[in-house]
């Protein structure tokens, strides 16, 4: 018995933002470049799009639909320039709308609703990371708002990123300030998970807050916040000059405003985060920042737009992935094989997943460091 | 030397418009056949008098295939004339006691690869089997 296409589903996906669904000509390049091929995963974007075009079952099961890490590798290569992430997001939204999100993600979404952060932590503890540090509050006379990613606010390992960064900013005399617990998650992952309404709510709250405080320039610690603020928020009425911390640090180092000792002789490999590199096109500043402290830079074979995703985007950072399917595990092994002592990166999700995999792989001699951490260690 | 006088040869008289390019098409397709088959082109094989075929057999050929364009012949009516000529040649062959299978009239078009190969293979097999006409005649005389 054959299957009958259900074209209404096709139309629903298009109307939910998967506008390129039908532009796909089914070449399958997306599936061939997808990082899931590295671990023999079942996630096959072309097949999902095919099922979506015909409104057939298959794409909507948890394992498949929420497999996409939104790493953007397929999108930048797609011969028809299909916004595959947009299609995935639209497909997820149809499922999430009807209450079908995977359980772990339901918790994340619930926490964002209730607490304004995905980590199921109370709103009041948002500034816990800054304990013992001199962190100025944002006032209209400050040049930059420092927007610390929820992960670096709450997650213990990640807090060190924010702490290192403020140390660097203070030493360089940057005019910046932070906003307190009223700050909300940027909503990037929430949107990718498919909860468009929640994203709108978070974004609106943040935009109102930025507006109220007269924010013009934003420094983000996470490339995910960077992308959301610079790509998604303008459509909602908020235009800001947004810069990622690694870009600012590169500028400060180049201007001689950071008293760095240029004698760190370690071999450092740099892992391009998807949202900073493939999404944001920021490849050189992080490398310049790393180089400023005299390390030996080791290029990994999969560098820049070919970078291997850590596996944390698209909500995956909160989902359980068996070790044999973790891209981050391949990545730390690749760094170790290249002789790196430090695997530096510039995203809290990457740090988190790479750190996990470093432990899993038992790579005692490899350190995972965010660029701020590496630079802070080399402050003279 | 591989080729020797003992290996019986087959003569193919091919029409210039159809059969000769047909043989070339077989070449373009790299489809092998016996290297004892020799192809000569003629505007139309209708120009050969019946005695010509017997002379060829006397020269040592074991068999002759006349490959014409058949009814597609660009010279209207020539095919019918050709068929009459070949009949006359058969009459002559009969009087000489020659195996009539040694002479065949067939139509080959420019894309008749398979038909061409069939004809050539059949005739070369026959030639291998019964040998040159001259020898057969000699044997008969002896």
């Amino acid at each position: 018995m054959g299957q009958t296409p259900f074209i209404e589903v096709n139309q629903a996906i298009v109307e939910s933002g998967g506008v390129d669904l039908n532009a796909c000509m089914q070449c399958g390049l997306c599936a061939a470049v997808c990082p899931w091929r590295e671990v023999a995963g079942e996630f096959l974007p072309r097949l999902m799009i095919r099922q979506g075009q015909l409104g057939l079952e298959g794409y909507e099961s948890d394992d498949v639909l929420f497999g996409c890490t939104t790493c953007n590798k397929c999108v930048i290569n797609c011969p028809r320039e299909v916004d595959i992430i947009g299609v995935m997001r639209a497909m997820r939204s149809l499922v999430v709308e009807s209450g079908g999100a995977p359980e772990t993600l339901k918790a994340v979404l619930g926490s964002c609703h209730a607490n304004g952060n995905p980590w199921s932590e109370p709103r009041e503890k948002r500034m816990a990371w800054s304990e013992g540090l001199e962190v100025p509050a944002f006032t209209p006379d400050k040049e930059h708002l420092l927007f610390v990613c929820c992960t670096s606010c709450y997650e213990q390992r990640s807090q060190k990123i924010a702490r290192s960064l403020v140390e660097l900013l203070n030493r360089a005399g940057v005019s910046y300030g932070v906003l307190g617990p009223e700050q909300n998650c940027c909503g990037e992952s929430v949107r990718k998970i498919g909860d468009e309404a929640l994203f709108q709510k978070l974004a609106k709250a943040n935009l109102e807050m930025f507006q109220a405080h007269g924010v013009k320039k934003i420094i983000t610690t996470s490339p995910h916040c960077l992308q959301t603020f610079s790509r998604d928020y303008p459509a909602l009425g908020g235009e800001y000059q947004v810069i990622h911390s690694s870009q600012l640090l590169a500028e400060l180092a180049a201007a001689g405003r950071l008293p760095l000792s240029a004698s760190d002789g370690r071999k450092v490999a740099y892992h391009d985060p998807c949202y900073l590199g493939r999404h944001g096109g920021v490849f050189d500043p992080p490398r310049a920042a790393i180089s400023a402290c005299g390390v030996q830079v080791v290029e990994l074979e999969r560098e820049k737009e070919f970078s291997l995703c850590c596996g944390g985007g698209g909500g995956r950072v909160w989902m359980e992935t068996p070790p044999e399917q973790r891209f981050s595990l391949l990545r730390v092994q690749e760094a170790a094989a290249a002789g790196a002592q430090v695997l530096a990166t510039a995203c809290p999700y990457c740090v988190s997943l790479l750190e996990d995999s470093r432990k899993t792989a038992g790579l005692e001699d490899l350190r995972i460091m965010e660029i701020s951490e590496l630079l802070a260690e080399n402050l003279g | 030397m591989h080729a020797t006088a003992q290996q019986p040869k087959v003569l193919i008289l091919a029409s210039e418009a159809c059969a000769y390019p047909g043989a070339n098409a077989v070449g373009q397709a790299h489809q092998a056949y016996s290297d004892h088959a020799y192809i000569l082109r003629a505007p139309s094989p209708a120009l050969f008098p019946p005695q010509f075929y017997l002379d060829c057999l006397d020269q040592g050929f074991a068999g002759i295939i006349i490959m014409s364009c058949g009814v597609e012949c660009p010279y209207e009516g020539a095919y019918q004339v050709l068929a009459q000529r070949v009949d006359q040649a058969y009459q002559l062959m009969k009087t000489r006691g020659l195996d009539l299978r040694r002479l065949r009239l067939t139509a080959i078009c420019t894309v008749c690869n398979r038909a061409f190969l069939n004809e050539v293979n059949q005739m070369t097999r026959l030639a291998d089997e019964i040998g040159p006409a001259r020898d057969a005649e000699t044997a008969q005389a002896a």
Binding site: M25, A32, R37, P79 | -
Partner: protein, 438 residues
């Protein structure tokens, strides 16, 4: 062979590939005088560098050389090789052209093509006309059936040892020769400036892994297959091994908005099938695989050719693969999604992989400086694509062949005839008008 050009021609044909030659021949047969300007040291264009051509599998040389020779010997055609159109302006209702004759460092009229200079030259360089797989000298005759058979010297790599000068029996070598500029006038111009192949692999799609010796371009495969190719047989470049498995990646760059080539390159399906067929003859035991999106065998007898290839055992896989690396043995590793054979991600290794790269507009598509309008695809534009494709937006300027977009040889030759037809009508009308005025 006419080396010394005259001052006035009826038509100036820019480009001496198959389109330019055919247009020149058709114009000359109408009684018009034609000059052909060709940048390369020989006429013949891309076609003369091919092995055999689809769907008849005639050797490319056999089809090209008669046209090259016919043009070279035609009393009304002058071939200006190793020359470029440096400027063109409208003058007196026609055109005044400046043509730079590049320095060959060999006197064209005195060289007899004996190759003594080539034999004596001690410098070895990769031979681009052999896909870079063979060596040539710093002074050389471009290739065996080049027209004219005149040597030229490559300036950058010459060591000025002077050996060539000494051995030349006619004293044709002139190491200090300077480029020359000549002027001529013409009434009409035919642009047959051809195409170029995407020079680099589409890196964004295929990654750093794409840089490996056994991943070659389709034109390199033409040379490997050519009867007078670099190795006289098909061997893979890295180690000279006979490949047991050869794959073709179709649409490598074509039909790809991301790479700025939204169009179909039109010839790649057929030449890949042809190359696969030729390989099945050269390497009867090799596995042959064509990775494709759609097989576009649209010309006369092309579909039958494709079906023959399938019947011969060439495997066609509908997929757009990526190159992910190489094996220790030098095989190229491909990854693709298997859509037809049960689905899922697949990996396969091939000893040699051919990229069917996109056809791009030539670097100097319009050397006239008149600003001939382009189409959205970057090739020369036509003002009447349906009724007279060779008509450009510049009066008196016509175009033919791949300068007007990717095209196979049959279509190119026919279109060159059309360009000649339109140019001839234009010239005839000008003459009639001239007579009426007089």
């Amino acid at each position: 062979m006419n080396h010394a050009p005259e001052n006035h021609y009826d038509a100036l044909v820019v480009g001496g590939g198959i389109a330019g030659l055919q247009a020149a021949l058709d114009l000359a047969e109408q009684g018009f005088r034609v000059a052909v300007v060709e940048e390369d040291a020989s006429v013949g264009g891309k076609m003369i560098r091919l092995s055999k051509v689809f769907p008849t599998l005639d050797c490319a040389s056999c089809i090209t050389t008669p046209k090259m020779a016919a043009a070279a010997h035609h009393p009304r055609i002058s071939l200006l090789t190793y020359s470029r159109l440096a400027g063109l302006e409208r003058a007196g209702g026609g055109f005044a052209a400046r043509i730079e004759r590049k320095a060959r460092f060999v006197d064209e009229d005195q060289c007899i093509g004996c190759r003594q200079c080539e034999y004596a030259c001690p410098v070895l360089l990769p031979d681009a006309d052999q896909g870079g797989f063979a060596a040539r000298k710093a002074i050389y005759i471009p290739f065996g059936n080049a027209i004219p058979q005149v040597a030229l010297r490559e300036e950058e790599n010459c060591t000025f040892c002077g050996k060539c000068e000494k051995v030349c029996p006619t004293g044709a070598v002139d190491l200090l020769q300077q480029p020359q500029e000549i002027s001529l006038t013409a009434e009409a111009v035919v642009l047959a400036t051809g195409f170029r192949l995407m020079t680099d692999y589409p890196n964004r799609a295929y990654g750093p892994a794409a840089r490996q010796p056994n991943l070659i371009t389709s034109l390199q495969m033409e040379r490997l297959l050519a009867p007078h190719g670099p190795y006289m047989r098909v061997l893979r470049p890295s180690d000279g091994k006979e490949p047991d498995s050869v794959a073709f990646i179709q649409c490598a760059g074509s039909r790809d908005l991301n790479l700025g080539v939204p169009y179909c390159s039109r010839v790649c399906c057929m030449y890949a099938i042809k190359q696969a067929m030729l390989l099945s003859g050269a390497l009867p035991l090799a596995d042959l695989t064509v990775y494709y999106l759609d097989i576009r065998a649209f010309g006369k007898n092309y579909e039958q050719f494709f079906q023959n290839a399938k019947a011969m055992g060439v495997e066609f896989v509908k997929a757009k693969p990526v190159v992910v690396g190489s094996t220790a043995e030098g095989a190229v590793r491909l990854r693709y999604e298997d859509q037809e054979g049960g689905g899922g991600g697949q990996e396969r290794e091939h000893d040699l992989v051919v990229m069917s790269l996109a056809v791009l507009p030539a670097a100097e598509l319009d050397p006239t400086g008149l600003g001939v309008g382009l189409g959205a695809d970057g090739f020369l534009g036509s003002v009447s694509p349906k009724l007279a494709p060779p008509l450009t937006d510049q009066e008196g300027v016509f175009a033919a062949g791949t300068a007007l977009g990717p095209k196979d040889i049959v279509d190119t030759i026919v279109e060159a005839g059309a360009a000649a037809s339109q140019a001839a009508a234009y010239l005839a009308a000008r003459r009639a008008a001239g007579r009426a005025a007089a």
